[in-house]
């Protein structure tokens, strides 16, 4: 399972699908366990996205040689120090 390729939405939708499959009565135990493993991987992956560290707030700065990103003024944020 390629975790990086899946967006949160895709992962959650896949989880929904797995639930439906697992709920079906004619699934073999081996398949159930395999799907369960896949589901738990997806779950962890989704959970990681949700509990990810705080995102960045950047501002574009136009310079002669192109664009640069600088941190957005701290007024709106608790922490921000580095300037790019």
């Amino acid at each position: 399972m390629d975790k990086i390729e899946l967006s949160y939405e895709q992962a959650v939708n896949k989880l929904e699908e797995l639930l439906v499959e697992i709920e079906s009565d004619d699934l073999k135990l081996e398949d159930t366990l395999e799907k369960f493993k896949e589901a738990m991987d997806l779950y962890k992956c989704c959970n990681a996205i949700l509990t990810n560290a705080e995102g960045t707030v950047k501002q574009i700065l136009e310079k002669e040689d192109g664009f640069a990103e600088i941190n957005f003024p701290s007024v709106f944020r608790e922490e921000n120090n580095e300037v790019y």
């Binding site: 639930l19 697992i22 705080e54 707030v57």
Partner: protein, 395 residues
Amino acid sequence: MVSELNGYIKKLISGDILLSFIEVEGEISNFTHHYSGHMYFSLKDEKSRIKCIMFQTDNKSIDFEPSNGLKVVISGSVSVYEKDGTYQIYVKIMKKQGLGELYKKFNLLKEKLEKEGLFRLSSKKGLPYLPKKIGVATSSTGAAIRDIVSVLRRRFPAVDILIYPCLVQGDNAPKDIIKGLKYLDKRDDVDLIIVGRGGGSYEELFAFNDEELARCIFGLSTPLISAVGHESDFTIADLVADIRAATPSAAAELALPEKNSLSERLWNLGTKIEKRVFRNIEDNNYYLNNIEKRLHYLNPIQKINDRRMNLDKIFKTLDHCIELSFLDKEKHLLSLYNRLNVCDPLLSIQRGYGLVFNENKDLVKSIENLSLDDNLYIKLKDGIIKTKVLEIRGE
């Protein structure tokens, strides 16, 4: 009476349908903003003037400072102030005159673009479910960006925000916004764009009614939310946008789902799957146990054991029978023996009797055949006596 006359005139004028809703263009003069909050002024053109009053409740909504000499368009109704015998306009709405032109321009562009299909629902893009990075094109100062950033971060702290600061009013604003949108659209890490600004006057918001900007928004490949001014403000940009938000804060709310609701959904999903799988395992276990029980019941060992027990039982019975028959025989033998014993002649000898034999070793039981001088033998318990018959006496 004067009051009756004025009352009659008032009734006449108030009853006139045309005068109950009028729109008049003119220049403000004799403007007074009374401390009560009401506005008193005259509206004039080159030839004529009319008294006007605008009550505080109505003039609150004016987004500019009325002053003498300003050309305005007002709407309201004409009525009579009976006390002074004057008629005047009771103003409900006041707009700057120039706005009429802007509004016409807006309508023309709207019609044109609508015909071209720029507002068509079918060409609107869906918003991403959970954007990783949101581009925001707006002024880097002011309430709009502050609202957007704080709402976005509150809803989903992990989201990345990239702000392209641009002018949002004035003649250069459209070009600046277009540049920002194009830049954000070209980046492949931005998966949603918010464009907009906070509230302002109609002219101030007019940058978002630019044709070039509208076409730029239409051509973007990244989904876009527009948020221009307040709920009541509608711009061309709003019409072309994939989604129009009433305010910048509302745009941020549309842009991201709330983390808690996502977490809850995910948790529910995880629990459901876990429960279901455990139930499956349990069901299988139960099934297995069941089979085990049935197998146990069907186990041949059991049958063998049963048979063995049966066999044991039979052996025991047999044994018993044999034993019994032996005992019987023994008893019988003993009784025979006893009976024999009783008959044993030697037994009498033991008790002191003697047995008499003749020469031929026959037992002599009577005097018959006996003659005098016959030799006789008497057997006693401890020996034999040889005698002679001396006398024979019958009884």
